[in-house]
Point group: C2
Chain length 288, copies 2
């Protein structure tokens, strides 16, 4: 068996097209275009590249780019003031604080200034709480993107045995919650798991977000299973994931490549969250 590859680039394009159509509808109805405020502190080159891509795709979807670039030595209180201003600015639908911020700043306290309704990265404790309680909130972009990929390829989740490898706050944990909401029987594995291969081999769906290059091989995959690789690692031979691609490709039924699988979905889901936040804000102001 050779796995069918899940084309994240194509699905991300579909999501971006949907977002652009939603933005057009909003604007046609006389509402302002949704605005994304990306907040970049300092001059880390990798962060600059990430933020530039987010801003570009935001503009391509017809949304307003409300970028703020702040000096690396900004004080906690000055940065808080910027976030507070964005929080109350009606032109700002979504706020994204690009992480990591410089070490002298308190990330958790800064994230706490972002209202849950504008938290398009799904990073706040408030949105984590809503997710844990099975309520509607803004979902972190990477796990949200994985769910969209699974749906696009009609992967059955209700009653399926799903395994999430990794328990990070921003991917592994919310990923498990999202699979649970869709009625999968979810097992969360991590570095202390005794027999990772045995646990994974029982799964219909495996999402690997361990941050360990090639941790999952063909021996850990049930024939025909769906395998989603969230990992991305730069090596002398190019980008690789947490999955040993060639091995797993010959066992799995569906598999995401790296690159071109989960990666492209993340920014697309950020855009989808931003337009969703704008719509919700709009409904509240109409209701008020």
């Amino acid at each position: 068996m050779t796995a069918r590859l899940m084309n994240g680039k194509a699905v991300a394009r579909t999501v971006r097209d949907e977002v652009a159509a939603d933005v057009s509808t909003l604007v046609a109805s006389g509402r302002p275009a949704p605005g994304l405020a990306t907040v970049l502190v300092g001059d880390d080159p990798a962060s600059e590249v990430y933020v530039r891509n987010k801003r570009r795709q935001c503009v391509e979807a017809g949304m307003a780019d409300l970028h703020r670039h702040l000096p690396a030595d900004i004080t906690q209180s000055a940065l808080k003031s910027v976030l507070d201003e964005l929080a109350t600015d009606p032109a700002v639908s979504g706020i994204l604080l690009q992480l990591p911020v410089p070490k002298h700043l308190d990330t958790a306290a800064l994230l706490a200034r972002i209202p849950a309704s504008k938290d398009v990265d799904g990073l706040t404790v408030a949105n984590a709480g809503l997710l844990a309680r099975g309520r509607v909130g803004l979902v972190p972009c990477t796990p949200g993107g994985v769910m969209r990929l699974l749906d696009e390829y009609d992967v059955a989740l209700s009653g399926a045995d799903a395994v999430v490898v990794g328990r990070s706050e921003l991917v592994g944990r919310p990923m498990a919650q999202l699979l649970l909401q869709r009625d999968a029987t979810v097992t969360q594995c991590h570095s202390r798991t005794k027999d990772l291969v045995a646990v994974c081999r029982r799964a219909d769906v495996i999402v690997v977000a361990a941050g360990v290059p090639g941790i999952i091989g063909g021996d850990a995959v049930m024939p025909g299973a769906t395998v989603i690789d969230v990992g991305i690692h730069r090596t002398p031979d190019g980008l690789i994931g947490d999955v040993r691609f060639d091995e797993v490709k010959s066992v799995a039924g569906l598999l995401t490549p790296v690159p071109g699988g989960v990666g492209p979905m993340t920014i697309a889901m950020l855009l989808a969250n931003t337009v969703a936040a704008a719509r919700a804000l709009d409904e509240r102001s109409v209701g008020a």
Copy 2:
């Protein structure tokens, strides 16, 4: 093999004694006694019994009983005002809104008025978010009590295969989070799980909170496993749990009885949360 029974009554007594000692220490240092505000709306007889027990144990531990009994026809806004007053009252360390409230009231909106720092039932979205993010908050009493029982009986959790049967917001979901924090490999099962017996039989630790009388029998338990029964059901033959006690007793290594297992732990953990909330409040006011 015959399972050793886990004595919830005795462990709850230990917890209550610890709380009483903590309260004495606080008072001896010149601080006011912690105060628990139980809020009872209407005259449901079962709720009255629950609240009476909580108040009694609160007083026995040396804490102040700040009970509020409100009429069944109270308006949402009047009840909100009561909660807001308790939220700012420095004599109130913990607030417990006894659920369910009458149907004309919006439970989620009411719970949102309780500050996370006084949410001794661990019911708020804010505390669910802290738990989901692996941070320190006030933990719902029943899952907190299960963790204490496991620790009291030295059940190894790191790397253990743990299964939680049930995914309620107040027991199943936080239970899985707490086991994960202790490095167990956690599988969450529910009504859509395909083969519950097979999943449970792989587990070193099973926590059953399905709300279905006798759903787990001896065939679902690995010899020597630890089985915690959160269920409690009134039948013509007396109280029974979610576990078929006689069957499981002959297979498991450790087992909670019903009654006398998890049940007594719940109020004990409420008291422990209240003194923890008082201490945290105290530290913040000293720090300010």
